[in-house]
Amino acid sequence: MDLNYSPEELAFRDEVRSWLAANLPQELKDKAHYSKEELMRWHRILAAKGWVAPAWPKDWGGTGWSAVQRYIYEEELGYAGTPPIIPFGINMCAPVLIAFGTDAQKKRFLPRIYNGEDFWCQGYSEPGSGSDLASLKTKAVKEGAHYVVNGQKIWTTLAHYADWIFCLVRTDPTVEKRQEGISFLLIDMKSLGITLRPLMLMDGAHHVNEVFFDDVKVPADNLVHKENQGWTVAKYLLGYERMNTGRIGESKRELRKLKERFPEKMKDVRWRDRLSRVEVELMALEITNLRFLDRMRRTGQPPGADVSMLKIKGTEIQQALTELAMQAADPNARETQALERRYLDMRKTTIYAGSNEIQRNIIAKMTLGL
């Protein structure tokens, strides 16, 4: 047992760290919200370095790093306070295309995703189908060389930035098993018949949208995998990249910033104890994450359902840190509003990307056999 990184891993970390120190523009650092331009600017910096899609196959631009290296890389990004890599293209659509796409689809979309030419968003949730994804109703009817799509998606993060959306749509409403009538479609956001409605969240910011499809014509070439087999694609995607959902680097950075920002609160035993407990939980989560990576290395198996705990704990820690920040600040000070709004905004983390209740269901069923 050796919980230290190897000399090679340490060297890799230093390389990432010093590259970030030299290449992360000061004005992109550590913002609560990023504009589309800022996000894409950072994306292109990483793309130019060749680091924007480490997990992709090398042929398409992947780095060939080990799982531990990828963990180190992501942690360093988080800890440096970089803009996020928006996952919908790089970590969601692309892996699907790599696994299920036609050659033409790969050639058409992957380079544009890599280089940040297309901004993607994800059309999964619908008003009636949150946790129960398979109950989705948005319909796609094949008419000649097109699908005609009607329906509505919700919680579509950054749809107002997006050039493309990948969607789960119902292509066969007659099947008994609901999962069997679903297909995976790529839709150009400039298509006629698409309208957006912003959904303002309680922090007063515009992150998510409703997307309405009204007789939207989608070329049949934009079907990924086979018709009515979209659920297979969705499941693949759910399983993909379940590791490293703990946002450990980001939380380490938050923690450090909290201590720096509120030195006087470090003398308040009540607040400090709460902070210490979060710090300990975060230390534990980091090691738990590394243990899971180590298990993958040893067994050669993909991560088990138990990695859902990374999402559960990671989001609880993120929430706790923003709550501590709010508690540390003067409730009467105007500047505290930024911290209050961040606390509000972070409440979504235990809801989105599979609510923590769903994650608990998954562990109960898949890992514990209940």
């Binding site: 949730s125 009636g128 189908s129 949150g130 946790s131 129960d132 109950s135 919700i154 919680w155 959904l199 303002m200 969240l201 309680m202 007063g204 998510v208 308040d268 009540r270 607040w271 709010m326 508690q327 003067d330 409730p331 009467n332 000070a333 105007r334 509003q337 209050e340 709004r341 606390y343 509000l344 409440r347 979504k348 235990t350 809801i351 989105y352 609510s355 923590n356 209740e357 608990r360």
Partner: protein, 328 residues
């Protein structure tokens, strides 16, 4: 011993509730917030017509001589409806003047307050004074003293729960209030107790609306309220609310008739502790159980979340009250 409102209190509470249901639903409130000033003169006038602005004042000044329990019946309803007009700070400042002002000060201010012609704010410092943008006078509680100010500049903004607030630059030292000791603590305890009452109204709404959501929102072919894990969490919210309500009753009734200042302060701090914990617990769970919908501005519960978050820290946060509770 009884936990009823008396007949007058009940009539008042009923009329306030009827008014809010009719004229202050979520849509009406949204329209008020969409105005530049973010509060409604008309609503304030209606408060005056219903006698609310004179509620805690003596009949000598056109008031009704009400106590904390009387005010509780009003602000609890305000908490449920998420009223944005800063009624409580105005009443607190009025109570401070009534308790500690000179005859001239009272005559100059209290009748106008009772009639709704004048609004006050109550400050414990220069920053984030709720109600300051609409106040003609501000009572400042600082360094153990109360002073009355009529000259000040306000840099206005809105709090996280949409109240009109502002950073205040006071001009001059103001007029001293309350030579008699203890007035400051009394007023602060009144404010803390009433903030508990307001929170209880908001907690009630959060519980009611979450329960309703659990019964109507379907997933996997059943209402999500059929899932036992959510049932138990809903029960814990409900218990939290009932315990919080009990403490708000205690705090307000002790403010009206405590045996001693210490007895009052201890009950108020205990209430603030329990209610801050309930506010945190219930608001977080209410949003979580609503899923994504709970995060949107379109559902009232997200606004209730904001109000509860703010209320948990007004008039002292849970840590300050734990400290005071243990010292008494």
């Amino acid at each position: 011993m009884n936990f009823d409102y008396n007949e007058e209190q009940q009539l008042l509470a009923d009329s306030v509730r009827r008014y809010l249901q009719k004229d202050y639903d979520f849509e009406a409130r949204k329209k008020i917030l969409a105005t530049p000033q973010g509060w409604s003169e008309r609503v304030w006038a209606n408060f005056a017509e219903m006698g609310l602005t004179g509620l805690p004042l003596s009949p000598d000044y056109g008031g009704f001589g009400g106590g904390a329990v009387d005010l509780m019946s009003v602000v609890e309803a305000f908490g449920e409806a998420l009223v944005v007009e800063p009624y409580l700070p105005s009443m607190l400042a009025a109570a401070a003047i009534a308790k500690g002002g000179t005859q001239e000060q009272k005559q100059a201010i209290l009748p106008a307050v009772a009639q709704g012609r004048m609004r006050l704010a109550f400050a414990t410092g220069e920053r984030g004074v709720i109600g300051a943008p609409l106040a003609q006078r501000i009572v400042l509680a600082r360094d153990g003293r109360l002073t009355l100010h009529d000259k000040f500049n306000v840099a206005a903004y809105r709090t996280v729960d949409d109240l009109a607030a502002g950073d205040v630059a006071f001009q001059g030292k103001g007029e001293p209030l309350g030579a008699a000791g203890g007035v400051l603590e009394e007023v602060l305890d009144l404010g803390a107790a009433l903030s508990c009452a307001e929170a209880v109204g908001a907690l009630k709404f959060a519980c009611d609306t979450t329960l309703e959501y659990l019964k109507t929102r379907k997933q996997f072919g059943v209402p999500i309220g059929a899932f036992q894990a959510l049932q138990h969490r809903m029960v814990d919210m409900f218990i939290s609310y009932e315990q919080a309500r009990s403490m708000a009753c205690l705090a307000c009734s002790k403010v009206d008739q405590a045996g001693s200042a210490q007895d009052r302060a201890r009950s108020v701090s205990a209430a603030k502790i329990r209610i801050a914990d309930a506010a945190r617990h219930v608001s977080q769970e209410a949003v979580q159980l609503h899923g994504g919908m709970g995060m949107t501005e379109e559902l009232k519960v997200s606004h209730t979340f904001r109000r509860l978050t703010a209320l948990a820290r007004r008039f002292g946060d849970v840590d300050e009250h734990l400290e005071r509770f243990a010292s008494l």
